[in-house]
């Protein structure tokens, strides 16, 4: 093991290679995007900052209840007069246009995303933004093929969709929500997260460039109150939310008793199961990707490492060695592996839960990182000796903190993996295919990655079991979340 322990600084140090921000042409302040144009909000304004420097980026309008109402009305009018009457082929063409415009402005969007969110530019450039384009491209092709979606002939759109998205993948979550909604013929009012509104507002400019009819997509910025006003608006037909389980629960209560359709993509506490016959090098890379990708701000993050007892020490040693090579710092630096924590509030949550982990007897190890002076940072951290009852093995931390547990038999691994109210994702590492398939069958999770982790694709349905929410995003299933079944799936007496 000695030969891979890299503790010294030196030969792996790189000169800074920051991505230029000159490609960005930001305004000092942004209004709300309603009915095809930017307008002032009536709820005041807030400043969005870079979490890496705490420096302000722009002033962002806060949508009041009246603004939300105007946005819903614009969406309703666009639904009635334009979007629901337009041939699917034309809806598809608008989505193709949007996909292309995203590709053309990809670098700019990536820089904006990393600036506002704190994620490394390599991730926004190589993962987030390419997937945004792919999502629009995929659903564009569905718009004129809804009869083939397995929902009977002539499935119908739901109407106005209210969509509330989180801050961890700001533009990607927007794409997951807007692309299927529009392909199915719905119109949209979307609220980006309070700490990451920037890319959604640049996206609004793209919609103008695409000449999308006014009101088809409306973007209202603000905090939780704006989102709540949107969700409870009586003229909304569909609510789609990605975020925490506690807010999801609140939304489910709000929607109860209405005719609104609801899909929820909520928290997770995924088990990443490493068997002793796994390819250990790949598994270590997968563990790192599973929990330290995007600073662990991932609902499907592999935050519980379940490692077979006889390879525990080897896996943990290699993991520590690998983590010691990760570079933390400027999100816009192309050499950066670990960016900034998205907000002070989130940093405090991660710190608090990590302290609890230590207090409850977990053995804490953090990668040796130089923490920048300003901004919000948390070094990649692993806890060994964690038991299933530990707080850090039960609660979603949503940060770069891994809890390591052990198991002896596949049955024990499955029982521990399923021992959570969540059920979003899981990972399995083994070279034995029959074992992988048998374990995958028994995991109560919506996405199972075998010998890989944190893979996303517009063609692949994503979503949770149990308290991780309901409904799927991606693929034909994701389209179904925005459509009412056509007649022929009912009435089995024929």
């Amino acid at each position: 093991m000695k030969d891979i322990e890299i503790t010294g600084r030196g030969f792996l140090d790189y000169a800074p290679a920051p991505e230029s921000t000159s490609i960005l042409n930001l305004k000092d302040s942004y209004g709300l995007f309603i009915d095809g144009e930017f307008r002032e909000g009536s709820g005041g304004a807030f400043t969005t900052i870079s979490p890496a420097t705490e420096k302000p980026i722009a002033e962002i309008a806060i949508a009041s209840e009246a603004d939300v109402d105007a946005a819903v009305q614009a969406a309703r009018n666009a639904y009635r007069k334009t979007w629901s009457r337009m041939p699917g082929a034309d809806r598809g063409k608008y989505l193709f246009r949007i996909a292309r415009l995203v590709q053309e402005r990809a670098r700019e969007l990536a820089v904006a995303e990393s600036l506002d969110n704190g994620k490394p530019i390599t991730e926004s450039r190589d993962t987030d933004i390419p997937l945004v384009a792919a999502w629009f491209f995929y659903y564009a092709g569905w718009a004129d093929k809804l009869d083939y979606a397995g929902l009977g002939s002539a499935p119908r759109p739901l109407g106005v969709a209210a969509q509330v998205i989180p801050w961890n993948f700001p533009l990607l979550m927007l794409a997951w929500k807007i692309a299927p909604a529009l392909a199915a013929g719905n119109t949209v009012v979307l609220k980006p997260a309070e700490t990451t509104p920037l890319s959604a507002l640049l996206f609004a400019e793209i919609l103008q460039q695409a000449d999308l009819p006014p009101g088809v997509v409306n973007i209202v910025t603000g905090a939780g109150e704006t989102g709540a006003a949107l969700v409870r608006h009586p003229d909304v037909d569909k609510v789609a939310f990605t975020g925490s389980t506690s807010v999801g629960r609140e939304i489910a209560r709000t929607v109860a008793g209405t005719t609104k359709r609801l899909t929820l993509e909520l928290g997770g506490k995924a088990a990443n199961i490493v068997f002793d016959d796994a390819p250990i090098d790949q598994a270590v890379e997968g563990i790192v990707n599973g929990i330290f990708f995007n600073q662990g701000h991932v609902c499907c993050a592999g935050s519980r490492l379940l490692v077979q007892e006889n390879v525990h020490d080897e896996v943990v040693d290699r993991l520590k060695a690998r983590l010691s090579t990760l570079r933390m710092g400027d999100p816009l630096d192309k050499n950066t592996d670990i960016g900034a924590i998205n907000s002070r509030e989130q940093l405090e949550r991660i710190r608090r839960l990590s302290d609890i982990g230590e207090a409850e007897g977990g053995e804490r190890w953090s990668a040796p990182c130089d923490i920048p002076q300003d901004g919000f940072w948390f070094a990649p951290t692993i806890f060994t000796g964690v038991s299933t009852s530990s707080t850090i093995a039960r609660e979603e931390i949503f940060g770069p903190v891994l809890s390591v547990l052990t198991f002896r038999t596949p049955a024990e691994a499955i029982a521990k993996a399923n021992n959570t109210p969540y059920g979003l994702s899981a990972g399995i590492w083994s070279d034995k295919g029959s074992k992988i398939l048998a374990v995958a069958d028994r995991l109560r999770a919506g996405v199972v990655w075998a010998n890989t982790f944190n893979r996303f694709d517009p063609a692949s349905p994503f979503g949770g079991y149990k308290e991780s929410g309901y409904g799927r995003e991606g693929g034909r299933h994701g389209l179904g979340a925005y459509l009412r079944s056509g007649a022929s799936t009912e009435g089995g007496k024929r």
Binding site: G150, A256, T489
Partner: protein, 285 residues
């Protein structure tokens, strides 16, 4: 001189057994014109919780059975039900005040619904699943799996047998276990159906039948954290919004009330499934 009949004691159906309510309570079931028919067990909170425990214990076996096997068991229910057609016709005619012909049509519908849903057991996953063409060297497949324990308020005040089958059968197709609150006013055919289930190779606990007051029992089921899905088909006259709110606490899936006997539909099967997507790397040759 006519022979003195031997009336049946109508009890609950929990975990494959026929217990009385632990509360000791019963309520009178009457014909449409008000004559005494029988005493039915009036299920309590404890009975509801026992039923959920039984259902939970039964999920793994039923969900783990092959789809072919589940299909055969559901078809067997149709066979056994059809064989006891006369009993159900009499029971429905007496309880619901309809003619034997109307009652017969209801039994026919119930039998045919079992047959229809039985046939779906090894097909719905092909229709609702997908092989996904992802942009990378991965095998990627999506399959529907059972949600788990489904609590159901059966349609009330109408076609008691057909209504019950219309909500129970689709929930069973994918491998869920069920706790169902029967039609309060016409619970007898539900208990008789439980006898059919008990003799049709349906494993104990896969279907649990409670008779009594849905208004009393449903809140306990809606709030129960080991219930994964809640079908409010027959809850239209209850305070069902409160039930949906209670279900939100553990993100229990909810199907909202609908009038009458629900149509047979694939949607009803899929409402109690979760889609699992499995990715596996392909090596680069």
């Amino acid at each position: 001189m006519s022979r003195l009949t031997v009336p049946k004691t109508y009890k609950l159906f929990i975990g494959g057994k026929f217990p009385r309510s632990e509360s000791g309570r019963t309520y009178e079931v009457a014909t449409a014109d008000g004559r005494f028919l029988a005493n039915a067990a009036q299920a309590s909170r404890k009975d509801a919780r026992d039923a959920v425990v039984a259902a939970r214990a039964a999920v793994a076996g039923w969900a783990g059975a092959t789809a072919y096997n589940r299909g055969q068991v559901l078809y067997r229910v149709a066979e056994v039900l059809d064989g006891r057609r006369a009993q159900f016709v009499d029971e429905i005619a007496a309880a619901e005040g309809v003619t034997a012909a109307v009652a017969g049509r209801q039994v026919d519908e119930a039998v045919d619904a079992w047959v229809w849903y039985a046939g779906w057991a090894d097909k719905f996953a092909q229709v609702a699943g997908a092989g996904n063409p992802v942009a990378g060297p991965f095998f990627n497949i999506s399959v529907p799996e059972p949600t788990g324990v489904v609590a159901i308020v059966a349609p009330q005040g109408g076609a008691s047998l057909a209504g019950l089958v219309a909500v129970v059968a689709p929930a069973l197709v994918a491998g869920n276990a069920v706790v169902v609150v029967a039609d309060e006013a016409h619970p007898l055919s539900a208990v008789s159906l439980a006898e059919v289930l008990a003799t049709s190779d349906v494993p104990g606990g896969v279907v649990n039948v409670l008779t009594g007051s849905p208004a009393e029992i449903a809140p306990w089921l809606a709030a129960h954290s080991d219930v994964n899905a809640l079908d409010l088909a027959g809850a239209g006259k209850l305070d069902w919004v409160d039930l949906e709110i209670a279900a939100a606490e553990t993100l229990t899936r909810v199907l909202r009330p609908e009038p009458g006997v629900p149509e047979r539909s694939l949607d009803r099967i899929l409402a109690f499934t979760e889609t699992k997507t499995v990715w596996h790397t392909k090596s680069l040759l």
